[in-house]
Symmetry: C2
């Protein structure tokens, strides 16, 4: 679903008045890529070989840049980048820079998977962009994981995860978060479905915009 959303956002963020003003998009949506969080935290199956295979397919189709709609996957991006003949757009770095630009001086709350948090992906990216951040406590993080895995990924109804999502966001706001980094690509889907009114950076949206810009099309 995150891959479909990224594709949708690429089309929607392009200022096109006919088919031909859109960019060409190749997709390899491989749902069998081993879970990234499980690989980072519990010695789960290595996702790198499958990611490498996708990368090769997309480059051989003719892709000029790569966009990976999974924040946790950026733990492996440095290795992939060394093997790739085209640039991999760095979703965490792009999102953090956009947070600094749009919410200058605000403290960011990081909403992400256990894997993304443990790997320090957004802590490093936000630090690089000069943005202060708040991490969820243990209970807030458990709620976030339920939203991602039992809610969105499992295709369950939004109301089944509303309480968890609101508890995480409200708890982190009390501890200083002024803007939320939706640092897992399932979370913008949750925010949209729940119609939550919070200031946020949608990492998937920023990645889509970066891809449109990279490919030389007009941004909306």
């Amino acid at each position: 679903m995150a891959t479909a959303e990224l594709f949708y956002k690429i089309v929607n963020n392009t200022d096109a008045h006919s088919d031909s003003e859109h960019i060409r998009v190749y997709v390899d949506s491989n749902p069998s890529i081993p879970d990234r969080t499980a690989a980072i935290l519990h010695g789960g199956k290595d996702p790198l070989p499958a990611m490498r295979e996708s990368l090769k397919k997309l480059i051989s189709c003719g892709a000029d840049c790569i966009a990976i709609p999974c924040n946790t996957a950026y733990y492996f991006a440095e290795i992939l980048e060394q093997e790739s003949s085209v640039p991999i757009l760095n979703m965490p770095a792009i999102s953090s820079a956009e947070c600094a630009r749009r919410f200058s001086g605000a403290k960011a709350g990081i909403l992400a998977t256990d894997g993304t948090l443990a790997a320090g992906i957004y802590q490093t990216a936000l630090k690089g962009a000069g943005v202060d951040y708040v991490l969820p406590d243990k209970f807030q993080q458990e709620a976030v994981m339920r939203v991602i895995y039992d809610g969105v990924k499992a295709g369950n109804a939004p109301e089944s995860y509303r309480q968890d999502m609101e508890a995480a966001v409200e708890g982190m706001a009390k501890r200083g978060a002024e803007v939320f980094i939706l640092g897992c690509t399932e979370l913008p889907i949750a925010v949209k479905e729940l119609k939550l009114q919070i200031p946020y950076i949608d990492s998937l949206e920023e990645l889509a915009r970066a891809a449109v810009k990279f490919c030389g099309a007009e941004l909306k």
Copy 2:
């Protein structure tokens, strides 16, 4: 946008409880494929070479079947099929069979591009499924074309094409249409955006469901 919608509908129509229960999807969204209606009606540039190139790319990625989210393109599908080592799912035939099943005995109004109508794509497919149909008159068809090209494809706001869409649908209903074949992949987007309450067959939805079924995943 139609390609993004098809991908989204494939994910949404799969009864999956984790990533790995989804099907693998390869996409080549090539917005530079010459306009199919222009090619059929006004000797416009031939879209076949570009379609052939996409087909080859998708098959070399590993696709087991092909789904083309453009009804007008099925004018060229017979030629492509002869060259393809994997089946091309026939969206007009699949949609017509579904119309016969769900709206047994009802007369279908065909909403499609000038090219699709002139090529008789849905007339032939509906006849094959034993479904009677009504065609739009000249003014209704002009309204449908404005919805597709000046409305959805141009990315304009739904309210800008509401009057045209309603005029076409109401006019055809008066002439006997009891169910509408949304026989252009931009039209389900229009119906959804306008929240129109009409009985219809969404050809893109039927194509998505056929792809999920073909690939052996569980349908919702």
